[in-house]
Amino acid sequence: MVRCKTIIAHLSEYVDGEATPEMCHMIEKHLRGCHRCTAVYDSTRKMLVITGDERVFEIPSGYSARLHRFLDKAILEGSAS
């Protein structure tokens, strides 16, 4: 059996769908027989679903308005000189 270390090292590529077909085959075979690597794989996928959600990070309210006000002021002043 392939060592867990090798599987873990390629897990990120595998999650992103960028592993080669041979690598996929090797990983899938290993995952069927290894609870630890399955736990890492499974939790990584679960994590990426939630961290990829926009709601995780709230932008401070008024940020956009303040940014555009700042730019208006700075750009207008720039054009006057």
Binding site: V40, M47, D53, F57
Partner: protein, 221 residues
């Protein structure tokens, strides 16, 4: 990329041309799709909302002033986000000169984390979509992110929160594609490790499990 994002993107070269021709007001429209990303990038470097906002303002002004220097109009996003990233790093240096870490130190840190291995193997519970409505959950994720060394934090934000692809991430950070892949991998392992105590299934004792499957016990309740 959804239809709206695609439409906005195809308009960029046109907007840039108009701005260069002197129609400055188009700049607002040009940067609007990138405001959130810019904030996240700055925040991932500075870890402070007020500082991140300041840095984004300065960066956006620079983007406006140096728009002439952008050679390929279809690379606006990567170029602009690179400016934000650099501005945030400069801001950090200015702000915390005494705490400033040299490149050597950062690299040393990378060496130390090179052999990062998962230590938590508990199964995670299912995380329903509504889980993000809980303030504690959002706070825990942001806190875990803040605990990562900067080189991993910025990769994770760009790739796994803002959904840039590997090549775009490499361009924004000014590093190679293999470097992005290696760091991303470690960043994910570290994030997973930090979040495991929060999202792991609660451990069930053998006694509890026995109670659950024992028909006599179940009938008595």
């Amino acid at each position: 990329m959804n239809d709206q994002a695609l439409m906005e993107k195809s308009r960029e070269p046109f907007l840039i041309q108009r701005i260069r021709a002197g129609e400055r007001s188009h700049f607002h429209e040009l940067i609007r799709p990138y405001e959130r990303r810019a904030f996240l990038i700055a925040y991932s470097v500075l870890r402070n909302q007020a500082d991140a906002e300041d840095a984004v303002q300065q960066a956006m002004l620079k983007i406006f002033l140096h728009l002439e220097q952008l050679a390929e109009a279809d690379k606006f996003a990567q170029w602009a986000m690179r400016v934000v990233e650099n501005e945030a790093k400069m801001y950090k240096r200015k702000r915390h000169q005494h705490l400033y870490q040299s490149v050597d130190e950062e690299q040393e840190k990378e060496g130390q984390t090179k052999h990062f291995r998962p230590k938590q193997f508990a199964d995670w519970r299912d995380l329903p979509n509504e889980i993000l409505e809980q303030q504690e959950v959002r706070a825990a994720i942001i806190e875990s992110l803040a605990s990562l060394p900067e080189i991993y934090r910025e990769i994770f934000v760009l790739r796994d929160m803002e959904h840039l692809n590997i090549a775009e991430t490499a361009e924004v950070l000014g590093i190679s594609v293999p470097m992005v892949k290696t760091r991303l991998h470690r960043a994910r392992l570290m994030m997973r490790e930090a979040l495991s105590p929060i999202f792991a299934k609660p451990k069930v004792s053998i006694w509890e499990r026995w109670k659950g499957v024992n028909p006599w016990f179940a009938a008595k309740r």
